[in-house]
C-alpha cells in the first residue's frame, strides 16, 4: 500500500466535506474490496475517510411495510437479524451466503451496494426487491441506481446512509458460486409483491439487471415451472475463465427456478 492520510469523522456532513475537498480521496466502510485493491496498488488515494465512527449508519429498523438497513450494517448482522429473517427471509439468506464468516463480520451493505461489483450479491437483492437507496442528499430508486460495471448514480461526495426495502409477500435468492472466490457466477433474486413480481440477476453480465419475461410469467403463476422454458439472450453476458456466456445464460434459468423454490419454501 502507498501511504495515505486517515480521517474518522463522526458526522455525515463532515465525511461528505472531506470526500469533496480532498481530491481522489475514498470512503472506507468494511474495506473488504477496498483494502485488497489498495494492497495491489490498483488504487492509491491520498486519503481514506473511514465511516466506522458514524453510529447512525448502523442498525436495522422495522417501519411496517418496509425495513431499513443502515449502510454500515455488516452482512453477519443482517443474516442473523430476527427482523430480516421474519420479514424478508430471502434477504437474510442472501447475506448469509456472502464470502465467508470473516468477510461477513466486516463487509457492509452500503459498501457492497456503492461498489456495485458485477458479481456481488446485494445488488441483486436491492434491485430484485425494488429497494430505495438513501444517501446523504436524496433517495434513489434501485432501478435508477445501478448503471453497469462498478458504476452507480452516486455523485461525488454523496454517501449512502441506508437502504429501505419494501416487504414482499415472498422472496428468494439462489446463487451458483464461483468455486474459488465464492462470488456469484450467477445469482438470482426473485420477489413477489401484491401487484408485481421482480427478478434480478447478478454475476451474469457487466452489472445487475432485471428479466421482464420471467417477471411476466411469474406474475401469472409463481412456480418454477412457469419460467423453465425462458432462456435469456447470450448477448452482453460475460465470458471469462470461469464460464462462457451461454453457460451463464443457462444458469440464469436454473438459478431462477431455484430462487422461486427458495421463496416458496
Amino acid at each position: 500500500m502507498k501511504p495515505f492520510a486517515y480521517h474518522q469523522p463522526d458526522q455525515i456532513p463532515d465525511a461528505a466535506k472531506l470526500l469533496t475537498t480532498i481530491e481522489d480521496s475514498k470512503l472506507v466502510a468494511g474495506g473488504m474490496t477496498l483494502i485488497p485493491t489498495l494492497k495491489q496498488r490498483l488504487a492509491s488515494p491520498p486519503a481514506l475517510v473511514d465511516l466506522s465512527k458514524l453510529g447512525s449508519l448502523k442498525g436495522i429498523t422495522d417501519d411496517g411495510a418496509t425495513i431499513t438497513i443502515g449502510a454500515m450494517t455488516p452482512h453477519a448482522v443482517v443474516a442473523a437479524s430476527k427482523l430480516v429473517q421474519t420479514k424478508i427471509p430471502g434477504l437474510a439468506a442472501l447475506a448469509s451466503m456472502i464470502g465467508d464468516p470473516a468477510v461477513r463480520s466486516r463487509g457492509t451493505i452500503g459498501g457492497s451496494v456503492a461498489n456495485n461489483d458485477p458479481a456481488a450479491d446485494y445488488p441483486a437483492g436491492v434491485l430484485g426487491l425494488g429497494a430505495t437507496v438513501i444517501t446523504s442528499t436524496r433517495e434513489i430508486a434501485a432501478d435508477k441506481f445501478f448503471l453497469g460495471l462498478f458504476e452507480t448514480a452516486l455523485e461525488p461526495g454523496e454517501i449512502i446512509t441506508a437502504i429501505r426495502f419494501p416487504v414482499p409477500l415472498k422472496a428468494g435468492y439462489a446463487k451458483f458460486k464461483a468455486p474459488a472466490s465464492r462470488y456469484a457466477l450467477v445469482g438470482m433474486f426473485v420477489a413477489k409483491f401484491a401487484d408485481a413480481v421482480r427478478v434480478a440477476v447478478t454475476g451474469a453480465g457487466p452489472g445487475v439487471f432485471r428479466v421482464p419475461p420471467m417477471e411476466a410469467a411469474l406474475s401469472e403463476n409463481f412456480e418454477p415451472s412457469a419460467i423453465a422454458a425462458i432462456k435469456i439472450d447470450n448477448d452482453g453476458l460475460t465470458s471469462d475463465i470461469h464460464a462462457e456466456a451461454d453457460y451463464r445464460a443457462h444458469l440464469v434459468t436454473v438459478m431462477a427456478k431455484r430462487a422461486v423454490d427458495a421463496a416458496l419454501s
Binding site: 500500500m1 502507498k2 501511504p3 495515505f4 492520510a5 486517515y6 474518522q8 472506507v28 474495506g31 473488504m32 483494502i35 485488497p36 489498495l38 494492497k39 481514506l48 473511514d50 466506522s52 453477519a76 464470502g99 465467508d100 464468516p101 470473516a102 468477510v103 463480520s105 466486516r106 474459488a180 472466490s181 465464492r182
Partner: protein, 161 residues
C-alpha cells in the same frame, strides 16, 4: 497515528502508519507471530483474529480500525483464565490430530472458536460451511472438522460446569 486497544486482555497503545495492516502490526511490531500470513489476499484465513468477538482476517484490516476495540489473537486463547491449560478447541485439535503441517492451524482455531460460540449445537454441515474461508493446503479437512465438532462439544460442556 496513535491507537489504543485491548490486546489479549491487556491495554495496548501503539504508533501505527494508517496504511498498515493488523497482521503486520501483530507480527512485526508486537512480535506476536502466532497469527500467520498465508496468502495475504484475504482468502486463506491463516490470519484470522477476533475483533470485538467476531472473526476477521487481519491481513485485510487496517491498523486504525483497532482503535478502541478488543482484539484476541491465537496467543490469547486459553483454558480456564489464568491457567496454563490449552483452550478446549486447542485440546480437541491435539486429541483428534486436526493438523498436519500446522500453518493454517491458528486461523482454523480462531474461526472454530467463533463458530462454536455463535452456534452451540453445531452440525458437520455448519462446520464445513463455517470453515469456507480457511484453507488447509495439506487438505487435512476431515480431522479438522472432527476436531471442531469435538472442541465445540467441550466448550459447551465447560460452559455447563
Amino acid at each position: 497515528m496513535q491507537i489504543s486497544f485491548t490486546l489479549n486482555g491487556r491495554p495496548t497503545t501503539v504508533d501505527v502508519e494508517p496504511a498498515s495492516l493488523v497482521a503486520e502490526l501483530l507480527r512485526e511490531q508486537l512480535h506476536l507471530t502466532g497469527t500467520h500470513i498465508g496468502c495475504d489476499t484475504s482468502q486463506c484465513g491463516a490470519c484470522v483474529v477476533h475483533l470485538d468477538g467476531l472473526p476477521v482476517k487481519s491481513c485485510t484490516l487496517l491498523a486504525p480500525a483497532l482503535d478502541g476495540a478488543t482484539l484476541l489473537t491465537i496467543e490469547g486463547l486459553q483454558g480456564a483464565p489464568g491457567s496454563n491449560l490449552m483452550h478446549p478447541m486447542q485440546e480437541a485439535f491435539r486429541e483428534h490430530h486436526g493438523l498436519q503441517c500446522g500453518f493454517c492451524t491458528p486461523g482454523m482455531l480462531m474461526t472454530a472458536v467463533a463458530l462454536a460460540a455463535e452456534k452451540p449445537d453445531l452440525t458437520e454441515a455448519d462446520v464445513r460451511h463455517g470453515l469456507e474461508g480457511n484453507i488447509c493446503r495439506c487438505t487435512g479437512y476431515q480431522n479438522i472438522v472432527v476436531s471442531v465438532l469435538a472442541g465445540a462439544a467441550a466448550m459447551n460442556a465447560a460452559k455447563g460446569d
